[in-house]
Amino acid sequence: MSKLNYSLRQIRFLDECSEGKSLIHRINPIVKILVTLIYIICVVSLEGYEVNRLIPFFLYPVIIISLSDIPIAPLLKRTVISLPFILGIGFLNLLIERNLHGLLIFLSLLIKSILTVLSSLLLIATTGMDNIAKGLLALKVPKIFVLQLMMTYKYILIFTEELITSVNAYELRSSEGGISLKFAGNILGRFFLRVYDRAKNIYNSMILRGFNGEFNIGKKISFANKDIIFLILWIIYFVLIMFFDVVKFFELILGVVT
């Protein structure tokens, strides 16, 4: 029970981070979405075996984390949670290609997934889902997709809380720890009914307050100089490390010097 309650406190971690006031938090959400998108495209489109060329991409999360005061440990924990799926796929490939090439592909897959997941988490943690929605709408993403995304995000949080309530209520009245299989179906059934009710009520209370699919989060999206600079600097950096093998370049210089 305590473990579940602990995860309840953890689940809003990204939301809580997003209320920060750091330099990165104050950057225009549109800019942050664009930079993240370009970053992910660059990372993903590198060739499978070019592991060393992925190294300069670590600079981006490192800089964002250090400028935005987001605690590293919980962030990394969330990144790691997504890894088993990727590892599974990479492992299958390793079975087929049992040589150095296969190993390199496995490694690069691992690094790529860490980088892309990390950068998306950083986007949410420094921007907040509401701002992201506003940014996506400004980028002309169809309203229906944005709405889906927002509702899914909000509901996942609420569902988790409901699940924890259900399980707590059960465990307080059961003698042994854990949920016996006999009742699991029962609890799950009740959980779905409750979740359905909650979702309906929340949607109702949204439309009663004039909600029509538009996300009005107040703060106007405005471009300042720092936003433009942020965007341009990162694009230059990404282009640079995409098209030049920076690591090799440094190796060459080091070679010349020694």
Partner: protein, 269 residues
């Protein structure tokens, strides 16, 4: 003024695959009236409020708000003027911070942010929750959530206020503040509650529901002193009327709650 009037004509409602929960109800509430809606658990209070806000559509009969009949077409227009406070405050808080939750309604009506900030402050001030403005909504206590959820409705400055169990979760101080808010709200309001003392202090008129039917509709004073009828409907006398034998005599004392209560006790002694 008739534009804050509510009229029900032979309204019935039945949940899909359920039996009839609201049975042929008719009443008329004029502008500025405040009405208490009482009845045992499952009497149909929440259902009736949901019908009035257009969340449910009656299976029979008409609902008229102002001069407009409630239909799918007029729903949007009518809802703008209704403030509905849910029985469970959790349903009303779905944004990150208290500020965003209270600002959610006004923002949807395209009010500019400076005005919104004023409204949010005013609404939170009225419920005595200004200090919670920048807190995370999901980290509030039950009573704090209740006060903030009332503020989310007040910030929309509605013409008609529908409240479902507004005094649940509240400590005595917050409850007193709620009573003052309700009494200072000059428009039409309907309050569904089990808190009969709250009804006594805020509503001149009371409607008593039993199994989806109106058993009594009239002066609050008459119904809340009618021990027999109340008990038949699964309720009992308001707390402040319970200490003496002749409840109707006590009614005037109860109107000024603190004094009335003390006098009531000394009278008994």
């Amino acid at each position: 003024m008739s534009h804050h009037m509510i009229e029900l004509k032979n309204v019935s409602f039945k949940y899909p695959q359920g039996n009839e929960v609201i049975k042929d109800i008719s009443f008329r509430i004029t502008h500025g009236e405040s009405v208490g809606l009482i009845g045992a658990n499952g009497a149909g209070k929440s259902t009736l409020l949901m019908l009035l806000s257009g969340l449910l559509i009656p299976t029979n009969g008409d609902i008229i708000i102002g001069e407009t009949k409630l239909t799918k077409k007029t729903l949007k227009y009518i809802r703008q003027r209704i403030g509905y406070c849910f029985q469970n405050p959790d349903d009303q808080l779905f944004m990150n911070t208290v500020y965003d939750d209270v600002a959610f309604g006004p923002r949807n009506y395209g009010i500019d942010e400076i005005e919104i900030e004023k409204r949010v402050d005013k609404a939170l001030e009225r419920v005595g929750a200004l200090h919670l403005k920048n807190k995370f909504s999901y980290k509030l206590s039950g009573g704090e959530k209740r006060m903030v959820s009332i503020a989310t409705v007040l910030s929309m400055e509605p013409d008609i206020l529908l409240m479902d169990e507004p005094s649940s979760f509240l400590d005595p101080g917050a409850r007193r503040r709620l009573i003052n808010i309700l009494n200072s709200f000059e428009h039409t309001k309907i309050i569904a509650t089990h808190d009969l003392d709250l009804v006594l202090e805020t509503c001149k008129r009371t409607i008593l529901l039993k199994n989806g039917k109106i058993v009594f509709d009239g002066n609050t004073k008459d119904i809340l002193t009618d021990k027999k009828l109340l008990e038949e409907c699964g309720l009992e006398l308001p707390f402040c009327l319970q200490t003496i034998d002749k409840p109707s005599l006590m009614f005037s004392l109860c109107k000024s709650p603190v004094n009335g209560f003390q006098k009531g006790i000394s009278h008994k002694l």
